[in-house]
């Protein structure tokens, strides 16, 4: 689901599918800015029917990587 949501942005930046790894930092390489990152999280919350503690989540290192986002939702219930 995450990959589907980010695919248009990755296409626009010329990033290939194999670059979509858990270590990919969405903010650092410019796939998303902080506004778009919050957009993404709230869209995922709606799609998954759950809420995460956003500020607390961002205190963790790697929170803005693909793996960080997945972990956020796995541990966010």
């Amino acid at each position: 689901m995450l990959q589907d949501r980010l695919a248009p942005r990755m296409d626009r930046l010329g990033l290939a599918k194999h670059e979509f790894t858990n270590d990919l930092d969405l903010l650092r390489i410019g796939i998303l800015d902080s506004l778009a990152f919050v957009d993404l999280i709230t869209e995922l919350e709606t799609a998954l029917g759950m809420q995460v503690d956003l500020e607390k989540a961002f205190d963790r290192p790697g929170a803005t990587t693909i793996g960080g986002v997945i972990e956020l939702f796995l541990n966010g219930k």
């Binding site: 980010l6 902080s34 506004l35 957009d39 205190d59 803005t64």
Partner: protein, 489 residues
Amino acid sequence: MSTLHPFDPYNVFQAAAVKYADRIALRIGEREWSYRELETQAAAIAGWCERNTPTRARIAVFGKKELAAYAGILGILRSGRSYVPLHPDHPPVRWRSVLEQSGSAACILPSNVGSDIAEELKIPILSDWSNEAHVPPILGQEAYVMFTSGSTGGPKGVPVPRNNVAAYLEHMLTRYSFTPEDRFSQLFELTFDLSVHDLFVCWGSGACLCVPEDDSALRMSAYVEANAITSWFSVPSLAALMRRMRSLRAGALPSLKHSFFCGEALSWDVANSWREAASNSTVVNLYGPTEATIAITEFELTSTNSQRSGTVPLGRAIGRNKAKCIPDTEPNEGELWLSGPQVTEGYLGRSEETANAFKQLPEGNELWYATGDRVRVDPDGIFHFIGRKDDQAKVLGHRVEPAEVDGLLAPVVSPANVLTLPFVKGDITRLVTFIDMELDTAPLMEHLRANLPAYMVPERIVCVGAFPTTAHGKLDRATLISMVVDEQC
């Protein structure tokens, strides 16, 4: 002969440095510097400026939120010179334009960023001032030159005299009860004139300026709590982002005593959420274009003037400034004109644009700045923002002329085939560029990123077969916007 204004920006810092020498003036992340330490740095930088640049020269200061940038600004002002802030993350073509237009005589470079351009332009560089001899404060005339987006290509500079800044500081430091115990947020980039409020209202109060170590907008309530921030100043978009993150719970920001917003329209929705979160704080909406020095009108929100929807009024002119509505369609609606001690005299090297924006009224010889903002003035003399006369947009508080973005694509796409528009999603304004032909947009985005600061780069470029038109044959902007506003990611 110029005289020293008691609220001159360097003078207010100097007075605090004498009175509160050992109090903390600056905190960046976990590191702190006292007023005495900061003044020592400024005196050394001023010494170098005095020995290496002409009197009252302009000096560029490259810097993010780091000691060198703050000490650099203070040192330049102490030397009676004027600072020109440059952001290391902005594209080099923009640095060059700013350096050339401002005629900067020297550069303060904390790191090597920008050194190649400074060397090419043959201007002296200061990166280590540890052994420089100090000089006492020297009287100056101009405080800084800030560059904003220009509709005719490239950034345009607004020189701001020190007395204009002093007029603003005089109002803020007498109107609000700041104390040396206060702790100010420092969220604005130094290339944004609202940062001048952060620095000099704080230091004029003998207070501590708290700079977040990283620029993450995603941990703002934690930053307020960890730094015990008492005075907050940001664009409304940041508050909107915090609201979206559910950080504005009732009572969530108890340390705040003063909250100021400026740079773009503040919605009542966001303002009311902020008031609930910062329940011990006054909340003030400020308004002011760079040409009128930081902010020139204010509106304090109270329990009796609160509304549920729409945007918070701009309020009334502060201090000895004047605001006037020049009516157009309705008697109380029209363009907002500003006059008074904070209004500057024009743009750097742009006489035509200066003449178009800085004017006199038939009944007097005062200089007025025609803002391009449309307002309504109510029976109490309070100004309410309606919109713009032109296409100018505000993105995260930064002024953006869409024509500047479109113009950069001109080598590839004719101006008739490209249209950059602002749109609002989640209470936050963003940009999107439409092109009425099929093109590979990746190289165009690359080109924009290489030439524009991040806030001016559109969120995306959308290719449409042809621009939609209304029944009257006009360009249908609403339909274009609707194509992106509901789209995910």
